[in-house]
Amino acid sequence: MADEKRIDEATGTETTGHTWDGIEELNTPLPRWWLWTFYATVAWGIVYVILFPAWPMVSSATQGVLGYSTRAEVAAEIERVNLSNADLLESLRTVDLGVLERNEALHGFAVRAGASVFANNCSQCHGRGAAGVQAAGYPNLLDDDWLWGGQITDIADTVRHGIRNEDDPDARYSEMPAFDEILADEEIAALVSHVRGLSGLAEGEAEGAQLFLDNCSACHGEDGRGDRELGAPNLTDAIWLYGGTPEAVEHTIRYSRFGVMPPWGDRLGEAQVRAVAAYVHGLGGGEAQVGVPLSEAAAEEAADVPEASFPASADETPAEADAAPVRPVD
């Protein structure tokens, strides 16, 4: 196959000496611009490997003399954004939640920040649209029914400490007994129809009413309207946390339910807790703030001050607010 190299007459180019079936290969040189581009890329590659993280090692990569890192860039960017929002975050941390809604700028910031906090931390259980999961007992946050209270302060408290968890001593706690061992099957059946009857889903029975009075009214109230202090659901409305079918209600009575929410206060920080509380409150079912002592004049003042210098509350000086940033509610 390899013949003598020779000069091809037609092109004036030297052959490589390779021949296949009489067809000879010309040794045409690479275009010069191409070659120089190639050399330039090689040189650039070497410089790049020296300057930037490039060479993979066992558990990381060479760092490069510039010390460049996209993670560091992201961290710096986050730091920059946090810094630019520092005033808003500080105001949010210390604002009296009862007047948050009256400061449009701060409330808007809280709701937008809360939306992303919710998407990151809450949507796994409560759903992206906050509609909850009925079968699993994750409450729907869009309706107007609140187990532990729907004021923005109540919601912040729930987020901060969670529900029925062992991690936070301040977590709201209540437990319904399992009546499987306590009541007979017929009694449970009567209770189921009574409970469903409370909201008009079934015909109530006298036996069931008596059983309810004896066993359930301590928490759910004699009329079944529940008790927010205990997180006992209102059984007379149209909303069922775990579903209103006879099977679902019977399961609740026999084995009880035990919905747990982890505390988020430490993990999110006060500003984010308040932000997500404002967001959830605004989802549609939030209740107006009551019971917060606030004069009209103070409220006006709170609504007017610019967000950067928003005071902790009408009757507190900012210094006091700094000392006690988390205001326990009721």
């Binding site: 037609a10 809604e101 759903g127 992206r128 649209g129 509609a131 009925q134 729907n140 869009l142 309706d143 107007d144 029914d145 889903l201 209102n234 409305d237 149209a238 909303i239 069922w240 579903g243 209103g244 079918t245 605004g282 549609g284 079912g285």
Partner: protein, 531 residues
Amino acid sequence: MTQPAPLFAAQEPIFPRRVSGRFRTLKWWIMGLTLGIYYLVPWIRWDRGPNLPDQAVLVDLAGRRFYFFWIEIWPHEFYFVAGLLIMAGLGLFLFTSALGRVWCGYTCPQTVWTDLFILVERWIEGDRNARFRLWKAKWDARKWRLRLTKWLVWLLIAVATGGAWVFYFADAPTLARELLTLDAHPVAYATIAVLTGTTFVLGGFLREQVCIYMCPWPRIQGAMMDEGTLTVGYRDWRGEPRGKKRVKGAGDCIDCMACVNVCPMGIDIREGQQMECITCALCIDACDDVMAKIGKPRGLIDYLALDDRPPVLPGEHAPVRPMGSDALDDPNTTGRPGSGDTAVEPVEGRTAPAPHAAAAPFVTRHSEVWAPQPVWRHIFRPRTILYSVAWLAIGVALVFALFVRPEIEMTAAPVRNPTFVTLSDGAIRNAYDVRLRNKHGEAREFHLSLTSETALAISLEGEDDRIVTVPPDATRQQRVYVTAAPGSDAATRALTDLRLWVEDVASGERAYRDTIFNGKESFDERTGAAG
């Protein structure tokens, strides 16, 4: 083994001679007009009210607005810009099919700026012969002085060109001040630098090379031209054979080379249609000038179409100079590849196998009996009329769309996560994201209401009175709730049609969007779940 001719020929300097005449005058006017528009338009002010920019023509990329006098285009109305681009394309087709590369010759920025640069060149270095001598001269002090002066003026024009461009994208007086105090955004400086560089190099040095090797338009134009298209051409049946005026039997062309000397593309139009020709018609002016001097009628070189050529009678020899035969040896042509090759192939039977001189006697006789079509017949042809109709149709449609643009723009999107919410009293509530656009310079209040065949209540998130205030020149998204009473028709039905109304509180103008309400019962039936 012969190699194909190379597709690129090294640039040969071209020194176009000064010329005057009707086409040159037209070109001056168009140059003044186009440059004037380009440089001055950003400085026209337009009062739109307190919150909107005062610039008549402004492309606000950051704010995603396009302002054109009284018209304000938002991103979702970009079809207006698309329509204008289509009209520009069709307009180009129209002019090309009627008048050939008239765009290239008169209004193309490359032509306009090159013309301007040649004007400067001629002003500083002198006309054709002086420039030719200077090009050959040694690099002494005089040549350096002339060259540096020329380059400096070119550079000033180029900076002004790049500088004018950025004013279309920001408030011109503010940006001008920032540019001078070095406070402007780096992007502005970078843009000016790039456009300065391209103007300087393309207009000053590359010139016709841009048209021949860089621009795609000459390659496409052939598809839009036909034998009826008016292009700059040479009446060879009148001009050939060339010779001195006194020589008996000679044509009108005295081979004075005026047409070649004035050509900015460096071609000889007497060789027929060529790809390089930008139909700037300077050769017509030059030739007419000569014809006047030698007492012959004007129009030896003229705007004419291929079908204006006189037919060749049987037994006659056409006076066409054979293409490519002597063109390569002709010292007057540049020898650029393509010149001659891309010219129109002589029609069969017309090509003269015999020397030109043999065909001489009948040329004049023939031109007397042959009457070419008038110019207007070339311009108003089915093809151009079709282009005009399409162009006008789009234009009318755009103007119509502009005038029926609604003053209130809204969209209403049902929230489907979840499709509905049961409230504690058993009422069913749906949520909608209503987006309201306020294109006015002042804040507007919109009142929301709804109509439906069944009773439904509307309420707004965070608002007590169903009135949404949208800030000036902004879009606001508002969550709207529609609630059906427990057990009501809408609550129990799968879907209920409803119409969301929005009314401008100030003007009373109304708009609506049709949407649907999701009920509960059908949902229960579908999923088997019970309330």
